[in-house]
Symmetry: C2
Subunit: 116 residues, 2 copies
């Protein structure tokens, strides 16, 4: 038997689909620029990529990369709007996160054996 150690990569195959799904969503929100993009999409009247670039203190390629990560995680979706691209929050992913934290909250209030 040969064991090859691959370091720096998470062993996703050892965890449940649910755990991996939450981790992917959480990771996508694990950068302030991406939280700021969500905030913008939530509050602004538009969702044009160029507006987001102007709003953030980051260069256009960097913002494009962050948008791509949010999109890959399923947190936002993009629509071609003429020349521009309109990004919007994908409610399904957010519902998933909301349900996850609601479940934790409920479960915590049931538990009485917390030792800390």
């Amino acid at each position: 038997m040969i064991i090859i150690k691959i370091m720096g990569a998470s062993k996703t195959e050892h965890f449940t689909d649910q755990q991996n799904a939450i981790a992917i969503l959480a990771k996508a929100l694990g950068h302030p620029a991406r939280v700021a993009i969500m905030d913008y999409l939530l509050e602004a009247d538009a969702c044009i990529c160029g507006d987001i670039v102007n709003e953030l203190p980051l260069a256009q390629p960097t913002v494009s990369q962050h948008l791509k990560e949010l999109k890959n995680a399923g947190l936002i979706k993009g629509n071609i709007e003429g020349n521009a691209i309109c990004y919007c929050i994908d409610e399904k992913a957010l519902d998933q996160m909301q349900n996850y934290f609601a479940h934790i909250s409920t479960r915590l209030s049931q538990k009485k054996n917390n030792c800390c």
Copy 2:
């Protein structure tokens, strides 16, 4: 004026405290092993570090490191319990996340100009 480019580091100073706070918590949950730790602490009757090590498919130093990250983010807290250490979920951080997602959900249902 001298501008020093520091790459690979996020420019946290350009974002709001709230955005940074959410990002820190989300980042800590952005790995399936750490989600699995939270799941364990939520469902198990104990919260001993050794039990967590046995539960996870990772070596003890790796689990210790993940626990440290969860603790640094404020998601868990640890108590010395004789020879062992008992880790528990910190409700404050989870409330923060729950509020964040609840706020997004509420705001989304108010919005009608979603273009996607």
